[in-house]
Symmetry: C2
Subunit: 397 residues, 2 copies
C-alpha cells in the first residue's frame, strides 16, 4: 500500500506524519489536525495526531534505526516495528479488548498506525502516583492466559506454530534481554548502574555461585524454550490503564519463549510497588498479584479444557504440571527482573524515583534480596498464597 | 547453477541422473558409467553411479514429493532435501570425517549429490548379522558431542543460532516424529502395528496414566526445546559403518530440538541389539552403549572448556547440570523409541526379523517393558553404569 512516495526508510516529521494520516483517510480535514511527537526519542518516534473538532486521535509509532539508553547508542533493526505490529495483531485475535487496534503498518517506513490511548495512563506512572486500577490484574491475567495459551502448541496446529516461531524470530531484541536481564547484572561489567551504597550487596551477587547457577538455568530457558508467543517486555510501563480499561502496548520484544517470562516480568513490576508501598496500599498490590495468577490459572484452564489439541491433555496431572512449571518459572524470571531493574542498565521509576537516599537504598536492597530469594527458592514455593507469604517475609525481615 | 535445463521438479531417471553427473563434471566419460536406482522408493530415489574404469562412484539422492510407509502414502515436502543437504554441510563443519561429502545440491530438483559410501554397510544390517564395529560408539559419541555442542547457544553467537533455528524449521518431518514416536503408540489409533500376542501388553500401555504423563513431558520437550541442530532420526539404519569407518547419513529430519533426542534414539537402537543378543555378544553392545556416553561426555566437556561462549560456564555446577539433563532426557527419548519401534507404524528389523514367533514376542515384550521403565524412571538413573545395570535388570527379570 503506497501511501507515501518514499520507497526507503526515512524518519517522519510532524508534517509528514499528518500527510500520512490524511493519505490513509483516517482524517478528512487537515485544518483541524494537531500533531505532537511524544516519544522519548530513545527507540521510537511517536506521533500523536488529534482532530480537534471531532475529538478523535491516532498514534503513529515509527522505529528508529538505533537504541539509546542512558547516553549510549547502538544500531537496532527497524524490523522490530513489523514484529510489534504482527504481535499486536496475533495477540489481538485472542484479546482484542486488551491491545490497541492497528489501523495500518508499513514495513519500509517501520511504522504502525494505531488506536489513540491518550485517555489512559501508563500503569507504572499511575501506580507510583497511588492509583490502584482495580481491574488491572484481572485484565492482565486474562491477557497472559489467552495470548500464551492460544499461541502455544496446545492450541495451534504444529505447522502454524512453527510458522509463527519463524515469523517472530527476533534476535536483536532478544539479545538485549539476554544481556541486560540474564547476564550483565550478575557480572562486573560496564553496563551495570547502581549507587555506591549498593556496592557490597552487588559484589555478593557477583560472587554467589548458587545464584548464578540458577540464573544460568533461567537464561537457558529464555534461549531455548519456544512455548508461546511472548510480549517479551511486559512491565507496567508497557501497560496503559484506567479504572475500567487496560491496554497492553509495545510488544517489540515479542518472540517465542517460555510461558513464565511474561508472567514473571509482570509479577516483578508489581512487586516493586509492594516494596515501596506500606500498609493497606501494599495489600492492594499483593491482592493484584494474587488476582493476576488466579485469573491466569482460571482462564488458562478453561481454554485448555475447551480448545486443547494435545491428546495427552486427557491425562489429569498434565495441566497441573504445566501450570506448576509456569508458576515456578515466573517466580524465577521475576527474580531476575527485580535484580536487573535495580543494578542493571535499565531502571524503574518505582525505585529510582525515591528521593530520600536512605529510603531508596533500603528499597533497592530489599529488591535485590527478594530477587535473589525468588531465583534460589522458586521450586519450593507452592502456590500464590505461599508466594505472598514468601514476599512479605523477605520484605520485612 | 543451471546444470539441467528443467526449472521445475521432475523425478530423475537412470538416464537423466547420468547426464546430471556428466554436466556436473563429476565424470568425464559417459561410456564407463553404470547407474542403478537403489532407494526403497518410499521417500527418495537414490541413484548409485559408478565409473567402472576409474572405480569411482557418487550417490544422487532425490526426494520424492510423497512418503510411503506400509502401503499408506501421503504428500511430503521436497524441501526436506534442502534441509538434509544443509544439515550435512552444517554438521560437516564439525565432523567432516563422520558424514558424507556433499558435491552438489539443487533445490528445485530436490537432489543432493554426495560421496559414494557403498564400501560400507548400514550399521543395523551389520549388527543384525553379528558384526560389532569396534569404532561405532566412539565415532557416534564424537558425532553427537560435536554436532550438538557446536550448533547450540553455547558455541554460536545468538544471531547465528536463531538464524539456524529458522533455516532448519522442519514442520512436516517433525510432525511425523510428533505423531509416530510421541503420540500414536500411546493411544488406540490405526497407525499402530503389532502382533495379536502383544495386545494385552499394549492395552496396559494405553491405560498407563503415569507413563503417558511422562511421555507428554518428553513430547513437550521435543516440541519446544531448541537446544541444538539435531540429526532427528539417528537410528542404526542412518549410519554406514565398517571396522574402521562410520558415516552418519540421511539427516532429513534435522531441526532444532533437545540435545537428548539424537542421543536417546541411538541408545535405543543399540538396546534392540542388547535385547536380541546374549552372553558376550550382548556385552559388546553394552560396551558400545557405555562408550558412546563416555566419548560424548569427554568431547562435549572438552568443547565446552575450549569454546563455550556462555559467561555462566564459569559456574562449576553448570556443565554437570547440562550433561545430567542430556543423560536423563536421552533415557526418556530412548524409552519412547523402544516402544514406538515395537508397536507403532515403523518397526526395526532387529525385532521383526526374528522368525521364531515365541522368541520375537518375548523380545518385543522386553522392549516394551524396558521402554516403559526408561520413561518412568529416567530421573532416578545416575550415570551410565547405573543405566547398564538398569537395562540388564529389566531384560532379565
Amino acid at each position: 500500500m503506497a501511501v507515501l512516495t518514499e520507497n526507503t526508510y526515512k524518519p517522519l516529521t510532524v508534517e509528514s506524519a499528518i500527510n500520512l494520516a490524511i493519505n490513509l483517510q483516517l482524517f478528512t480535514n487537515k485544518e483541524n489536525l494537531v500533531c505532537k511527537e511524544i516519544g522519548d526519542g530513545n527507540l521510537n518516534l511517536v506521533f500523536h495526531i488529534v482532530d480537534n473538532e471531532k475529538q478523535k486521535g491516532i498514534i503513529i509509532k515509527q522505529a528508529l534505526p538505533y537504541a539509546k539508553v542512558v547516553g549510549e547508542s547502538w544500531p537496532l533493526t527497524i524490523h522490530r516495528s513489523e514484529i510489534e505490529a504482527n504481535a499486536l495483531k496475533t495477540h489481538g485475535e485472542f484479546v482484542s479488548h486488551l491491545v490497541p487496534k492497528v489501523y495500518h503498518t508499513d514495513k519500509t517506513l517501520a511504522i504502525t498506525v494505531m488506536e489513540d490511548l491518550s485517555h489512559l495512563t501508563i500503569a507504572r506512572t499511575g501506580l507510583i502516583d497511588g492509583q490502584n486500577y482495580p481491574l488491572l490484574s484481572s485484565h492482565v491475567g486474562e491477557y497472559l492466559a489467552k495470548t500464551l495459551f492460544y499461541t502455544s502448541d496446545y492450541a495451534l496446529h504444529p505447522f502454524k506454530k512453527k510458522d509463527l516461531v519463524k515469523q517472530f524470530s527476533n534476535p536483536e531484541l532478544c539479545k538485549i534481554t539476554e544481556d541486560l536481564v540474564f547476564t550483565d547484572p550478575f557480572f562486573d561489567v560496564d553496563t551495570n548502574d547502581f549507587e555506591e551504597e549498593l556496592k557490597d550487596t552487588v559484589r555478593e551477587i557477583w560472587k554467589d555461585a548458587s545464584l548464578k547457577f540458577e540464573v544460568a538455568k533461567l537464561k537457558k530457558q529464555f534461549l531455548t524454550e519456544t512455548e508461546a508467543l511472548l510480549h517479551g517486555d511486559l512491565h507496567t510501563g508497557s501497560i496503559f490503564a484506567s479504572i475500567t480499561e487496560t491496554k497492553v502496548i509495545d510488544p517489540e520484544f515479542a518472540f517465542y519463549g517460555p510461558f513464565g517470562f511474561d508472567v514473571g516480568q509482570f509479577f516483578a513490576n508489581l512487586i516493586f510497588q509492594v516494596i515501596v508501598r506500606t500498609g493497606e496500599q501494599r495489600q492492594v498490590i499483593l491482592n493484584h498479584l494474587e488476582k493476576t495468577w488466579d485469573i491466569f490459572q482460571t482462564i488458562f484452564t478453561d481454554s485448555w479444557q475447551k480448545d486443547c489439541l494435545e491428546p495427552f491433555a486427557e491425562i489429569e496431572s498434565y495441566l497441573p504440571y504445566i501450570l506448576g512449571k509456569i508458576f515456578t518459572d515466573s517466580i524465577g524470571f521475576a527474580g531476575c527482573e527485580l535484580i536487573r531493574r535495580t543494578i542493571g542498565l535499565s531502571h524503574v521509576k518505582d525505585l529510582d524515583g525515591i528521593t530520600d537516599i536512605k529510603v531508596r537504598i533500603a528499597a533497592k536492597k530489599t529488591a535485590l534480596k527478594l530477587g535473589r530469594a525468588c531465583i534460589l527458592y522458586r521450586h519450593k514455593i507452592n502456590g500464590m498464597e505461599d508466594y505472598i507469604s514468601f514476599i512479605k517475609q523477605n520484605i520485612n525481615e
